[in-house]
Symmetry: D2
Subunit: 134 residues, 4 copies
């Protein structure tokens, strides 16, 4: 990346951050992908949501992840099957980990990591895993 | 409370909920307003946000509160002055309680309660308080 | 309220807080009880916990509530029946609202409010309610 | 890894989880370390805490991380300098990311990864980074 001036604050802060890491670029990209999936889970689990608000919540979670360093994209979807059809005052749900489908793409230098979170029926567990490193 | 049909699930669930309370309608409305303000604080503090995503986050928080029982409206605003002007990868912030301005209106029967949360300069504390009961 | 010295920081801050409220002492105590129950829910739902760590988590949640203003006591219990007996790496759970039993006692002036949260089988909902005001 | 019986539930679930990953053991260990640091941050930021309860909170956070897969140890410390000396009702703080010092050690097969989170004065940011991979 070209730096026009020595005091460019952007580049300097990124360089400082880089200096803290004792690993390869590839490993750092993998590390960042883990951070992002756990952020989705632990920040938003518990959020009240219903069929009318779920689309907005999906977008807000995606954008909250995309403002973080090195995120190329974050797609979050919450299957509509989790929502009750009733319409009384108690017919909303609290977001749980089992309801979250997420795909996060990290780009750091020449490395692209795709990591995913989704409820695994066989494991009975919302698994976070790495689906590709390029 | 009038119930038109024995199997009405809405009325039955609301009646069940009502039966758990040992207080007046007015007190219950006040109780609900406290629940909603703390939900805003403890669910969303920590969310990554920047100048481009703050409007969406405000709306999502408002809607998450409005799906809960007895909420007439919830307005959340996050002053733009909290955001750094820089544009490097680290120029976003994590939402803190001090950044949240919220006004929640609860309507329960004939009672309307307005409760607010905002950073109090004199107290140096994000105070939650009741501003009116009608 | 009597203030012994003009510069007493405790009394001054509490008086400032009191001045923000447009309601009775009793209503304020009710409001605080709602805040505390929602804090338990929205702060701690999602926490990884197993049979070995649940007792410590219960205590930590109780104490986190007890440091807040006007809390006389906060008792939190998480029934052990929610925990799987297995012992592999995936045999822990994430705390959900349905797992939380809480009793919070607020004392504010001459008012004592007891509020509770617990999963209501009939409602199929973790209900927060006021059980007594004295 | 030796499996004594085909129906061993532990080994089977771990094998299922392993099959989801498209990366090396080393990369997976790095991924898990990122998950754990973000869990600390996004689960616990916002927790009310004071000088009397901070030690218990540190332990509870450590244990919440240690129940998760592949964690050898998690040490969390919250410097006491962040706490005000006052003693009125408002003299507690809400945990922020800047207050958290954490060291998480992941062991997965033959790989040991140490990852840390701490406020970086130069970056003005609570940085999560990998300090060693063995």
């Amino acid at each position: 990346m070209y730096r026009s001036r020595r005091d460019d604050p952007v580049t300097d802060r990124e360089k400082l951050a880089n200096d803290r890491f004792n690993c390869s670029e590839r490993e750092r990209a993998v590390f960042e992908s883990g951070i992002k999936l756990a952020t989705i889970y632990h920040q938003f689990v518990g959020t009240p949501v219903n069929l009318n608000t779920v689309e907005g919540l999906e977008k807000t979670i995606s954008k909250a992840i995309e403002v973080q360093p090195y995120v190329e994209s974050a797609k979050v979807s919450i299957p509509r099957s989790f929502f009750p059809e009733g319409s009384d005052r108690y017919s909303y749900v609290s977001l749980t980990g089992n309801m979250i489908d997420a795909v996060v793409v990290i780009r750091l230098g020449n490395t692209k990591v795709t990591a995913e979170m989704r409820y695994d029926e066989a494991l009975q567990y919302p698994l976070m895993y790495i689906s590709s490193i390029e």
